[in-house]
Amino acid sequence: MSEHAFLSTRKGLFELTSNGSAWEWGAAHFLGEPVSITLPDARDGTLYAALNLGHFGVKLHRKDAGSDSWTEIAAPAYPLKPEQSADPVEWKNKLIWSLEAGGADQPGVLWAGTLPGGLFKSSDRGDSWQLVRSLWDVPQRSQWFGGGYDVPGIHSICVDPRDSKHVLVAVSCGGVWRTEDGGASWSISATGMRADYMPPELNENEAVQDPHRMVRSAGNPDLLWCQHHNGIWRSDDNGRRWQEVRAVPLSHFGFAVAVHPRDGNTAWFAPAEADQRRIPLDAALAVTRTTDAGKSFAVLRAGLPQQHCYDLVYRHALEVAPDGRTLLMASTTGSVWLSGNAGDTWETVSTSMPPVYAVRFA
């Protein structure tokens, strides 16, 4: 059973700890500072926290296993933009939006996805970072655009547990990209997705898709799920082709998806009414769960607010623990809920936290 969970919020990083039967608030870190994402690295117990200081930029901190103190380490930084570059994008790290560990056979390897669309790799636990130029330089990047932010960004990084050189990343808005050589080369991997927000002739252009969140089942690595701007998609061939899941209750729109760590046919979603109205349908919060690869869904409401609820669950704010039953969900208006039975019932942990960007178990 997981003993720790971490909430990255607008005003700090907060820990929840479990004593085996109940979860309680633990330590708070970086109180008052925006923490965009946190990575508990299961390989060595290190905790990484990415900050986005309002005045002083993107920072990255590391806390070693067993240590009580944080060390500021290098933040991913873009190289100097060539003077002759025609790229309209500023080569400046605006946000660390995703942070993932490399494979179990790659100690020290980290991946960081950023705004405005750069993927960074570290081989030394974040002491240094390199922009993955092979992805930054793909010609299709000129078609990418911002989704929710003014510039594109990488929010999902899925390392294949069978082969650490195989990595999928998802870009809002720039589709899904695949490397099979550790990042030396990349190809677009969004076949089957559809962008209704584009002119009809561009609906199926893979490089303009807006996957809001993409997750991989560790136990079934070929099975991936994607909550997309225009619906829910899944892949059963490691992201090579994507199939739309059409039997979706409540709404096709949302940001978050969590997949069962061993059963890739089980996934959870937190739908919002629509793009133009990002609140729970009828102001009543629900989580949807499929256990049959999207053929059917259960709508789970027990314990969740059913009146005057305007909470939005952002893309990194719904997670399932390694036990496959414990779920943590939080909202941009500071509510936090836990479930110990795969979402059948929920308990409210707080309704007064800062806006929550991301939750994670360790």
Binding site: G54, F56, K59, Y78, L80, E90
Partner: protein, 89 residues
């Protein structure tokens, strides 16, 4: 010698030296502060070496408007304040 004074808001994150410099331009003056504490550079300047958009510099009571070249002249008796802009709050 021009004097550089950094907001104590920065001291929450990294040591902020008070620097006296014979630099005749702002960027060179800032560089002398970054020599004293290299970590300070990333708090004041962005990836491209431009002044961060929510940091503001005053030289002898006048706000520096150029964020890219940072070539405002410094006089031997100049006082430079590096502050956080309220826009970033």
């Amino acid at each position: 010698m021009a004097r550089l004074i950094f907001t104590q808001q920065l001291a929450r994150f990294t040591p902020v030296p008070q620097v006296e410099t014979d630099a005749s331009r702002l960027r060179a003056g800032l560089d002398s502060a970054f020599e004293a504490n290299p970590a300070l550079r990333g708090y004041v300047l962005d990836d491209q070496g431009h002044l961060r958009e929510n940091v503001v510099v005053f030289i002898d009571g006048r706000r520096s408007l150029d964020r890219v070249r940072l070539d405002d002249p410094l006089k031997p008796d100049s006082t430079v304040y590096v502050l956080q802009a309220l826009s970033g709050g």
